[in-house]
């Protein structure tokens, strides 16, 4: 069994040879009226004209200018790169711990309203909170923030169990300054 199809048998090849020979017969007898002068004209047209001495000097000067410009630019870039490494460079270092602080808008609840009333316009609109403790949007969307840990902030709201009444937690607003409990 031939995987690539049936091959061409000798008899078929004879018939194909005859058909192809017959088909190409008019083409084989074709002559083209092209003169050799046309080739010479093409060669002469494409041949580069010899340069005069003046044009050669101009070309030499041009190449010299290009080379000097390239060398100058390279030297300038190299010197600039060395100066950048050797000189004193002041890098602005980020403040420690500031990279994980984000600003979030806190919903206006009772305690925040109290703080706004007490501090007036001096109260910041946003709180600096730890990014790790920010509740996800899916979890608390539409719900008040239960716990916001403020990094050195003004307000902390926690749930503190009272010693005498374990079953009933009391929400206590503790203010760092101790003004409100």
């Amino acid at each position: 069994m031939n995987l690539f199809g049936r091959g061409v048998r000798l008899e078929e090849q004879v018939v194909l040879d005859r058909l192809l020979d017959d088909a190409f017969a008019p083409g084989r007898s074709r002559r083209v009226p092209i003169s050799a002068a046309r080739v010479r004209a093409r060669v002469a047209w494409q041949r580069e004209a010899p340069e005069s001495r003046g044009w050669r000097a101009v070309a030499w000067l041009g190449r010299l200018g290009e080379t000097s410009l390239a060398v100058g630019m390279t030297a300038l870039l190299f010197a600039g790169s060395l100066g950048g490494v050797g000189g004193q460079t002041d890098f602005v270092q980020p403040e420690r711990g500031s990279e994980d602080v984000v600003r979030v808008a806190v919903p206006l609840d009772d305690s925040r309203l109290v703080r706004l009333l007490r501090l007036g316009l001096a109260a910041p609109g946003t709180d600096d909170v730890d990014a790790a403790t920010v509740p996800t949007r899916e979890a608390d969307e539409g719900e008040p923030v239960i716990t916001v840990r403020e990094r050195g902030g003004l307000l902390r709201r926690t749930t503190v169990p009272t010693p005498g009444d374990d079953d009933e937690p009391v929400n206590t607003v503790r203010e760092r300054g101790g003004l409100l409990r």
Binding site: G5, G7, V8, R9, L10, E11, E12, Q13, V14, V15, L16, D17, R18, L19, L20, D21, D22, A23, F24, P26, G27, R28, S29, R30, R31, V32, I34, A36, R38, V39, R40, R42, V43, Q46
Partner: protein
């Protein structure tokens, strides 16, 4: 007088080999280069015409090929045959000038039909023969580029397998394989044509292949 002098000169060039003409052309002998040009001009034109299907492109290919040959005459190895080198340049130039897809200047049979020499025979036979040629050339046109160039070089330009291998730049075995697959594809295409009978049982009949080949003068 001039004719009597020119004719022996032309004969002298025709008798000289490619190598002798190349060596003479290197020394600036322009008639020797012209003799090379007139020797291979028609074959390169036919090759260019079969690939580009445009006579004006084919003429440009002839001129470009020999202009390149003139510039490279010092680098040409006279030991090697000049013909495969010229055909190789012509094939590359032809592929560069190949018509883009969707644009057809004229088919191969159209390009050749205007130069068909008048043949003897009754009008019905001539018409039938012309139709057969058109069908075969149409099937050749439908071949892929690699197969088509091998068929054209072999059947139109008369190059042997070794020369075709030099032209297309691959081993002789590859050329054989391409020619075989080209003939197989042609057999498939031609079998589908109602006016042609490629099947040997139909073509040869009960007389046998040798008798048919003898009648066609192939044996």
């Amino acid at each position: 007088m001039t004719r009597r002098r020119a004719a022996p000169a032309a004969d002298a060039f025709e008798e000289r080999t490619d190598r002798e003409l190349v060596v003479a052309a290197r020394t600036g002998d322009m008639p020797a280069f012209d003799a090379l040009f007139y020797r291979y001009r028609d074959g390169i034109f036919r090759l260019g015409l079969s690939i580009t299907k445009d006579p004006s492109h084919a003429e440009e290919i002839v001129v470009d090929t020999f202009a390149r040959a003139y510039r490279a005459i010092d680098r040409l190895e006279p030991d090697e045959s000049l013909r495969p080198w010229l055909y190789r340049v012509a094939v590359n130039l032809s592929y560069n000038r190949q018509p883009r897809k969707g644009i057809t200047f004229s088919s191969l049979d159209d390009a050749l039909a205007d130069v068909m020499t008048p043949e003897e025979g009754s009008p019905p036979i001539l018409a039938e023969r012309a139709e057969q040629r058109a069908a075969v050339l149409e099937c050749v046109d439908r071949l892929g580029d690699k197969h088509k160039v091998v068929v054209v070089l072999h059947y139109l330009n008369g190059l042997n397998l070794a020369e075709i291998a030099l032209v297309v730049g691959c081993p002789v075995g590859t050329v054989k394989s391409r020619l075989h697959y080209a003939l197989r594809n042609l057999r498939t295409h031609l079998s589908a044509h109602p006016g042609l009978s490629v099947e040997p049982t139909v073509a040869l009949g009960a007389t046998g292949s040798m008798e048919l080949m003898r009648s066609q003068g192939q044996v």
